[in-house]
């Protein structure tokens, strides 16, 4: 889910210009904190793009929030007692073949633990079980849909998503985020192309099958990069918790999974591109806030974002924008490396997206522009300190006799502030610093670097107050000109903002809020061009 979070932020900075992207979240744990966080993020993104109706807006060109996102959510329901364990779902003791079913299950799945643990918090690194159940969950939903009657929202969402793929046909590109070492993601990657294809066959009762070989699937092969407390015997004493993922096995899981992905012909034929993503340094501990308990899932599982998740989002960017994807044949395996010196990474934009057609410069410009906007709203206009940042910017425009944005409501401006807090930072009511996405990504890299200077990620109120919003890069060539002896780059930005006239048609913007966002985008871009 955190890869998706990075992906949404790439959409917000404007990397997926003028595109409509359908997002399906797949989870076993509907209450998962990370799932809730990303759903909230996508919801906020769509609200920001929406005009008077909550339709998620339309794709725009060369502005922030330029891609339109449609969110669908499917989760396998393991909450009722009859569905809480593999044994209960499979009804092993029922039917004429119960003996054979039991023997087959015992052959692959440990009788006392794997068949018995509570599935509500996911597959707990039991990938063999997970693949089986995820496939089952999707096919079961397709059967329900085909039968009509009582269809859940999750099943309806899955149906709509499959219909979108079917409609796109050979043009469809599906990118799957997931790790290969954990539970749900690792279980899903091998079976998703086949499961979606089979679900389509079931759903349409064989009439319009989705030809999986025509749809272009891509995925990340993300190996271990985080750890958590090893579960103790007391935690595993109940049958429901007889299996708890042990992160000390993640490297081993990753190794085994990579061997599988390297050799399995089904996967090789189903996917067009597989991106190797790994973190060779020590895995980051995710349980600092709960040192006495292993968090298996649920609402409390809200882990901070990591740089490798941004790398995964960039892999999706590469996949969606590749103009030389093979239509047929085996999957390509891709990887990049970054500069590693003195025990730390020093990543460049080209390490993430390559440098064809100056795409690395585009990433630098867009990410730099959005980080500048974050500091303009959060720091200069104090949205990070509980004030109203975008309302301040609008007032700035009004004071300079630009009053075309007066119809944007306070609520809409608050949503923009909220998004920037999730992207950048926030001081809570007790004045504690809360890192947003880009701060978390940066923290995960420490002591390494990525494009920006340390000052851009200050957590001290005093330092933030003195921050120059156009001097966030490590490379001074990217700094904005400050425009005068007594000036700073915020002055350059406001001057650019007040001087420019917005070309609505060039941005494909429809409503006032989109125009306001495009105006701020152009103001920052004009300031950048003064560097």
């Amino acid at each position: 889910m955190r890869c998706l979070e990075s992906f949404v932020h790439l959409c917000a900075i404007g990397m997926f210009d003028n595109q409509e992207i359908n997002v399906l979240t797949l989870d076993t744990d509907a209450t998962n904190g990370n799932l809730e966080r990303v759903r909230k993020l996508v919801g906020l993104y769509s609200d920001i793009k929406s005009g008077t109706t909550k339709d998620g807006g339309t794709p725009n060109h060369n502005t922030f929030f330029s891609a339109k996102l449609n969110l669908y959510g499917f989760y396998t329901d393991y909450n009722s007692t009859s569905r809480s364990t593999y044994r209960n779902i499979s009804k092993l003791t029922e039917g004429a073949s119960s003996k054979q079913n039991k023997m087959l299950s015992d052959l692959f799945l440990d009788n006392n633990s794997v068949q018995e643990f509570n599935l509500a918090h996911g597959y707990r690194a039991q990938t063999h079980l997970g693949s089986h159940l995820m496939y089952h969950g999707i096919i079961e939903a397709a059967r329900n849909l085909a039968a009509g009657g009582d269809v859940s929202n999750a099943e309806r969402d899955l149906d709509e998503f499959i219909q979108k793929i079917s409609k796109a046909g050979e043009e469809a590109r599906v990118f799957i985020f997931g790790s290969v070492f954990g539970g749900t993601g690792a279980s899903s990657i091998p079976v998703i192309p086949t499961a979606l294809s089979d679900a389509m066959k079931v759903r349409s009762q064989g009439k319009s099958p989705l030809d999986v070989t025509k749809v272009k699937f891509g995925s990340t092969l993300l190996t271990e990069y985080f750890s958590f407390k090893k579960p103790d015997q007391a935690e595993m004493s109940t049958k429901a918790n007889s299996v708890i993922a042990d992160s000390s096995f993640f490297p081993l899981n990753s190794q085994a999974a990579l061997q599988f992905y390297q050799g399995d012909p089904t996967v090789q034929n189903a996917y067009k591109r597989l991106y190797h993503v790994g973190w060779p340094l020590e895995s980051k501990s995710m349980d600092k806030n709960s040192p006495n308990k292993t968090i298996t899932g649920g609402a409390t599982q809200k882990n901070p974002c990591h740089f490798v998740e941004l790398v995964c989002a960039c892999a999706a960017f590469d996949f969606f924008n590749a103009d030389n994807l093979k239509a047929e044949g085996k999957a390509e395996y891709l990887f990049r490396t970054g500069e590693f010196e003195n025990g730390a990474f020093n990543f460049k934009a080209s390490d993430l997206v390559g440098n064809q057609k100056n795409i690395d410069e585009r990433l630098i410009d867009k990410l730099g522009a959005f980080l500048s906007l974050a500091h303009i709203t959060l720091t200069k206009n104090e949205a990070g300190f509980g004030n109203k940042g975008f309302a301040g910017l609008r007032k700035q425009l009004e004071q300079n006799n630009i009053d075309s944005y007066s119809t944007v409501t306070d609520k809409e401006l608050d949503q923009l502030d909220e998004y920037m807090r999730l992207f950048g930072y926030n001081f809570d009511s007790s004045n504690n610093f809360q890192s947003g996405w880009i701060y978390q990504v940066r923290d995960s890299l420490q002591p390494g670097n990525f494009i920006f200077a340390n000052a851009a990620f200050s957590k001290s109120i005093k330092e933030l107050k003195g921050l120059d919003v156009g001097k966030l890069f490590e490379d001074e060539n990217y700094h904005w000109e400050k425009g005068g002896v007594f000036s700073d780059t915020y002055q350059t930005f406001v001057k650019s903002l007040t001087k420019l006239s917005l070309d609505d048609s060039a941005h494909l913007v429809n409503h006032t809020k989109e125009k306001f966002i495009a105006h701020l985008h152009d103001g920052i871009m004009a300031s950048q061009s003064n560097r």
Binding site: N401, G484, S487
Partner: protein, 107 residues
């Protein structure tokens, strides 16, 4: 120099100083930026300073005695009035023409 020329020039010079200071005042962030008010204050401060400064310069440039002094002193209030009007008028026009700039905050 003739007061009718000198004093309006001084008015313009005062206006340029007001514009310079207004431009030096930084755009502020936050929900209630005070910078436009500060620029307005600067404009009106120089508006009120203008006659005093103009009058002082008029005195300083006055001939020591004779008919020249009488003529100079007679033209001083008129030149001063012209200077004030020029300051106000040109300031207003500049503010409206450059309404999206910092001097746009004067009116």
């Amino acid at each position: 120099m003739n007061n009718y020329i000198l004093l309006p020039i001084i008015g313009i010079a005062m206006l340029l100083i007001a514009a310079l200071i207004s431009n030096i005042i930084k755009y502020e962030g936050g929900a209630n930026p005070k910078d436009p008010k500060k620029r307005k204050v600067v404009f009106w401060l120089f508006f009120f300073l203008n006659p005093a400064v103009t009058y002082a310069i008029g005195l300083l440039t006055s001939p020591e005695s004779g008919i020249a002094k009488t003529k100079h002193m007679d033209s001083l209030p008129i030149g001063l009035a012209i200077g004030v009007v020029v300051y106000l008028l040109v300031g207003f026009v500049i503010s409206k023409v450059m309404k999206n700039s910092k001097v746009g905050h004067w009116f």
